[in-house]
């Protein structure tokens, strides 16, 4: 770099780098602020990426950096892989992609902390740095393997149910203690490589064990939490290399992930501790109560639903993950368009855990060109149901189950739900009478004003489109 910059400027360079880092932080914060509205969100993301670009460029100006070949190779390989993944991924697979990216962020931070130790083996790092370094490796590596397990579960590579075995909690706690012992050992013998390897190895195992016991239904919580951890890992790596840009950016991400984790837990009426350490969530055993006795259901066909909806004033669509699985988000938009042409007020009521990660359903509907002004979240839509003529429940189950309000014995009791039973008529699009993720009977299906329309979501919606057109 000497050839580009006059020697006299070098005295100012460290300050310049720090100021540029500050500018990058400001860009990150402004970028995140712009995410508060769909209209400005895209420019916000661009501001944040500009901040990242600035941060990387000024770092390369730093005089400490002398070898560029590995940097260039790494950046090229990473960019190609990242860009390919971003371009190719289907929107239904977004949770998988975010899980993998969380993991990569985590391992990168762990490696930065490790690299800082391997860089200065002749002169020991100060104790405080070693402590943070150990924690950084621990959090980063747990995030990495935990995210890979989350990815495998979401992708169906391993079964989604909680994988449990005896003394699992005890084992996890012992491993965590061993990792912390490794950090203590490192503090005592700062130049020894063994404690570093011990911390790394234990952390890798811990990440797997930590996520493997969490059920598929709780994945939105886990992804949010891993997101938070990837930020905290970056922040701690910043402590190790004394870099404010990393500390602040990592903390911002850590906070974002924690907020989302909290929202997801509340939406599922689960405590974070019970997601992490208890059983329920994906295993369909709890309170399945076979009390179906003499309750009867009313089945309808596409022509019935067409008449119901076409002559309604207001229709609310309640989509669930089943809609996405069936790739039916484009067909439901077609139904909505036809109804709107007939003067029907069509809205979408979206439960916070409708997809496999926070806000997932909104993205899927946006992909199908549903304008975001028609998307309403649970609080907004719940007061509207009693004024609604027809609710179309498509591929959703537990999030519309009145048991959450009426049956204190139910495992989902207390979970906030969409009050679709307040509407004049409800049509449930469903494959069969099978139970949802929580494995609980849904009283909604037996209500007098509920109609069941059986079949694959895409096929039934396509029939509905035809029937509405024929009216």
């Amino acid at each position: 770099m000497e050839t580009f910059i006059p020697e006299s400027w070098y005295s100012f360079l460290p300050n310049f780098v720090e100021l540029a880092y500050l500018a990058a932080i400001v860009l990150f914060i402004l970028g995140l602020k712009r995410l508060s509205s769909p209209a400005t969100a895209r420019s916000g993301n661009q501001l944040a990426s500009l901040g990242m670009f600035l941060g990387v460029i000024v770092t390369l100006l730093d005089r400490e950096i002398i070898a560029f070949e590995y940097i260039l190779a790494g950046v090229i390989v990473g960019s190609l892989l990242g860009a390919a993944a971003a371009k190719k991924v289907e929107m239904t697979k977004m949770p998988e992609l975010v899980a993998v990216f969380n993991g990569f962020g985590g391992i990168a931070s762990a490696l930065v902390a490790l690299g800082a130790w391997f860089r200065v083996t002749e002169a020991a790092l100060p104790a405080a740095d070693l402590l943070i370094m150990g924690l950084s490796v621990l959090i980063g590596a747990v995030t990495f393997t935990g995210s890979l397990v989350a990815f495998a579960k979401l992708n169906g590579l391993i079964k989604g149910n909680a994988i449990l075995f005896p003394l699992q909690n005890a084992l996890n706690q012992v491993l965590l203690l061993v990792a912390l012992f490794g950090i203590g050992w490192l503090l005592a013998q700062p130049l020894e490589v063994a404690p570093v390897l011990l911390i790394s190895g234990i952390s890798i195992v811990l990440g797997v064990l930590f996520v493997i016991r969490i059920g598929g239904a709780d994945m939105p919580v886990v992804i949010s939490l891993l997101n938070s951890l990837s930020g905290i890992a970056a922040s701690f790596a910043g402590f190790v290399i004394d870099n404010n840009l990393l500390i602040v950016s990592g903390a911002l991400v850590g906070a974002a992930g924690l907020i989302l984790t909290d929202i997801m837990c509340k939406s599922m009426n689960r405590k974070l501790t019970s997601v992490l350490f208890a059983k329920f969530g994906g295993s369909g055993t709890a309170g399945a109560g076979a009390d179906t006795g003499d309750k009867s259901i009313r089945e309808v066909q596409s022509t019935d639903v067409a008449v119901m909806t076409a002559y309604a004033k207001r229709v609310v669509v309640v989509p669930g993950y089943g809609l996405a699985v069936a790739q039916a988000q484009h067909v439901i938009r077609e139904v909505a368009d036809l109804l709107q042409k007939k003067g029907v007020d069509v809205r979408y009521g979206i439960h916070p855990v409708a997809g496999r990660m926070p806000g997932h359903m909104n993205v899927l509907l946006a992909e199908a060109n549903v304008p975001y002004s028609q998307l309403f979240d649970m609080e907004e839509i719940n007061d509207e149901f009693f004024r609604t003529d027809v609710v179309l429940v498509i591929g959703a189950n537990d999030v519309v189950n009145p048991q959450a309000k009426t049956n204190p014995g139910s495992p989902i009791y207390g979970m906030p739900i969409l009050n679709v039973d307040e509407a004049k008529q409800v049509v449930v699009f469903k494959r069969s009478m099978n139970t949802g993720y929580a494995g609980i009977e849904n009283d909604l299906f037996y209500n007098e004003n509920t109609y069941m329309y059986f079949g694959d979501a895409k096929g039934t919606l396509e029939d509905l489109v035809r029937s509405i057109k024929e009216l």
């Binding site: 790494g74 975010v98 990168a108 800082a116 500390i247 974002a256 929202i263």
Partner: protein, 97 residues
């Protein structure tokens, strides 16, 4: 130790800024928020550059190189996929078939 305490100040204050800014993000945008935030956590790339490029031994360079690859995937992929998602959020159905 002094720098640790100083860094801790920055960390805690940044957490509060994060909570303030992010609690205003609507549910609709939570997925792009997560993938965008995720891209930001790839900032660890800056640390990776310093480690891979400082010429301090083979082990550190290899570790740094791997960190660069992972962090760059995170940064480039994260920002690009977030942009792809946000592009789809439209007010009206103008460019519809």
């Amino acid at each position: 130790m002094e720098s640790l305490i100083f860094n801790l100040f920055i960390f805690v204050l940044a957490c509060f800024v994060g909570f303030e800014v992010i609690s205003k993000v609507p549910t609709t945008l939570h997925t792009p928020l997560m993938s965008g935030a995720n891209a930001i956590s790839g900032i660890t790339l800056v640390g990776a550059l310093a480690i891979a490029g400082s010429g301090s031994g083979t082990t550190a360079t290899i570790i740094g190189f791997l960190a660069i690859v992972f962090a760059t995937i995170n940064v480039v992929g994260g920002f690009m996929v977030t942009d792809r998602m946000l592009e789809m959020f439209k007010k009206k159905k103008e460019d519809e078939a």
